[in-house]
């Protein structure tokens, strides 16, 4: 479960940005194509934040949908995974517009 490593990264980023202040809430952005499960992130968050500046902080996850652009017919559409075909022309060659995000967006500190 690599979500554990991801949450450890979140703690590191937030502790550094908090500069000693207690963190009350963290807002993360997780894309549908990021290979990370939001549920698993929530599961790890409580355990990983114990005895850190984030202890007891609220986790808010912004889920970013996967959006792609078809190289053949230029249609733009939403996908849940990499293999979905273009609903207009049936092609699989697409460019990813969004959905691979894995970021700490902002946080609330005391």
């Amino acid at each position: 479960m690599h979500e554990l490593s991801i949450v450890q990264g979140v703690v590191e980023i937030c502790e550094s940005a908090a500069a000693g202040k207690r963190v009350l809430a963290v807002v993360m952005e997780i894309g549908a194509l990021s290979n990370v499960m939001p549920d698993a992130i929530e599961f790890c968050f409580e355990a990983c934040t114990k005895e850190t500046l984030l202890d007891g902080a609220r986790l808010v996850i912004d889920r970013i949908p996967g959006k792609v652009h078809c190289r053949k017919c230029a249609a733009e559409f939403t996908v849940k995974a990499y293999y979905e075909k273009c609903p207009v022309c049936g092609g699989y060659k697409v460019d990813i517009l969004s959905g691979e995000e894995l970021r700490v967006k902002e946080m609330e500190v005391e």
Partner: protein
């Protein structure tokens, strides 16, 4: 402290530094407004930091060093039991006289695979991840210390057997190579799309067994190309040797593209 990556590893040396290191820090802006929750004043800080930024920075450092030394680096990924180690053993034994190899073996526990690789005469470093499900760029940064990069053509990194987690962590390799064996389901590329999307090459292994199985190889390749239209696919059997020559030619071509190969 490690001077390569700034970590606190004390394995090899420990000394004081009179300067600041480039420790990771977030770029942040404090907003002008404050909030009040339950009587506690709070404020929102914009962080906007990619969670993988640290790993990606270390991977970029690895990649720059490999480029500078002219080493062609592959990250072999697959589910457990697809035959990664057997492909490596066969490849090393067949090409050892033509090309100079080193191997990093990633497993949660044991050095069984490193022992197998060492038997081929190729330098090998075992990395045990313990509870960890993947290798990361930091581990590679330290593991490569054991090798003479100046005299190396190809570094093979065998990742932990897992089709999910290793897809997310760049190690600084030139290519991810995903191994799928025909004893698995042909729909694995659809079930684990991130891995097949991020790989440049797929080795369809154990094809000597195809006559005994219902596995539809063409369907499997079609699934892989749905997820990744540009993926390069080689049918191989590390046991019978079938198809290995095409894989070897691709490897040799990869080393020739490296800056200092002199070819």
């Amino acid at each position: 402290m490690c001077t390569t990556c700034g970590c606190g590893t004390e394995e090899n040396h420990s000394h004081e530094h009179g300067h600041d290191h480039g420790h990771d820090h977030s770029h942040q802006h404090e907003r002008k407004h404050d909030h009040h929750h339950n009587g506690v004043a709070s404020k929102t800080i914009s962080v906007e930091t990619d969670i993988l930024a640290k790993n990606n920075r270390l991977a970029a450092g690895n990649r720059a060093l490999f480029d500078q030394k002219g080493v062609f680096v592959l990250n072999l990924v697959s589910s457990p039991g697809s035959g990664k180690t057997t492909i490596l053993e066969k490849t090393l034994r067949d090409l050892n006289e033509k090309l100079s190899f080193a191997v990093i073996e990633g497993d949660q526990q044991t050095d069984n695979d490193a022992v197998r690789i060492a038997a081929t005469g190729v330098p090998v470093k075992q990395v045990n991840t313990g509870a960890g499900c993947h290798l990361d760029a930091h581990m590679i940064c330290h593991a490569m210390d054991d090798f003479d990069l100046d005299n190396l053509d190809i570094l093979m990194i065998e990742n932990v057997g897992n089709l999910v987690c290793p897809a997310t962590f760049d190690l600084g390799e030139n290519h991810k190579v995903v191994v799928l064996s025909v004893t698995e389901g042909e729909d694995k590329p659809l079930k684990y799309p991130s891995m097949f999307h991020n790989a440049d090459v797929m080795l369809l292994n154990k094809v000597d067994l195809l006559p005994h199985l219902d596995f539809d190889a063409e369907k499997c390749k079609e699934f892989a190309r749905r997820v990744n239209p540009g993926i390069r696919i080689f049918d191989v059997s590390s046991k019978s040797g079938k198809g290995m020559d095409a894989w070897y030619e691709w490897l040799a071509a990869g080393t020739r593209k490296q800056p200092d190969s002199g070819v």
